[in-house]
């Protein structure tokens, strides 16, 4: 289970409500990646985090909030010496991740979309959705 720690246990943390605007989310991602760099995280880990968080952010804005500018996205993130935790919540109706077709199934392989969640699960140490599916929590354990 993805575990949030108290704020005083993080080297760096963020807790922001942003409008349904990818650029606002990317501002936070950029800050996060800068922090990972400052803490000396491996390039491969930084790539993994950028990929997974980018996919989760786009999913929240595009699929969750349906690009509705009246809706918000909540981003909470904490970075410790060895772990990154991030949670993204949209104001959409949610979904069941189990309903997403396997993009590696030969029947789906040439679909132009549907790979985001799979990439999140592949590149992060842990990915969890809440029951309604409008919140994703992810963890990345730092490569030793």
């Amino acid at each position: 289970m993805a575990v949030e720690m108290a704020n005083n246990q993080w080297i760096w943390h963020v807790d922001e409500q942003i409008p349904t605007d990818v650029e606002q989310g990317r501002r936070i991602i950029t800050d996060l990646l800068d922090q990972l760099g400052k803490q000396g995280w491996a390039e491969s880990d930084v790539f993994a985090v950028q990929l997974a968080v980018e996919e989760a952010l786009v999913n929240a804005i595009k699929h969750g909030n349906q690009f509705d500018e009246q809706k918000q996205v909540h981003i909470a993130c904490g970075l410790s010496e060895s772990r990154l935790w991030i949670q993204i919540t949209d104001e959409g109706g949610g979904f069941d991740p189990a309903d997403v077709p396997d993009p590696t199934d030969p029947a789906n392989l040439e679909n132009p979309s549907g790979r985001g969640i799979m990439l999140m699960r592949s590149f992060m140490s842990l990915v969890e959705y809440n029951e309604s599916g409008n919140r994703v929590s992810m963890e990345k354990c730092r490569e030793p």
Binding site: S44, F47, E54, V58, P103, E110, P112, M118
Partner: protein, 118 residues
Amino acid sequence: MASHRHLAMTEVGDVAVVRFLDRKILDQANIEELGKELSSLVTQEGRRKLLLNFEDVDFLSSAALGKLIVLDKRVKEHSGTLKLSNIRPEIKEVFVITRLNRVFDIYDDEEDALKSFG
């Protein structure tokens, strides 16, 4: 030859070698434009042999993968050949995880890719 905002094309023999001008291919609007530019190489400029060189690309999102799939279909519809090269290891891993390495013809470097066109 049409001008492009997101890619630079050179000709090596009859192969159109394409390099990307965006180091990070993630913005949706840019990806849409990039997709159109790639398609236009085939549909408007009549290119039938395409090599996409990813040496200058540090990052791409799954939406960008989608545009590559669409391009691949477009190339095949026009009886052409599409190959990819110089993909950095982290991005190569994305192709492997998604099994798109089975869809695309991927080479370590441009020279090997060009030789494979025959």
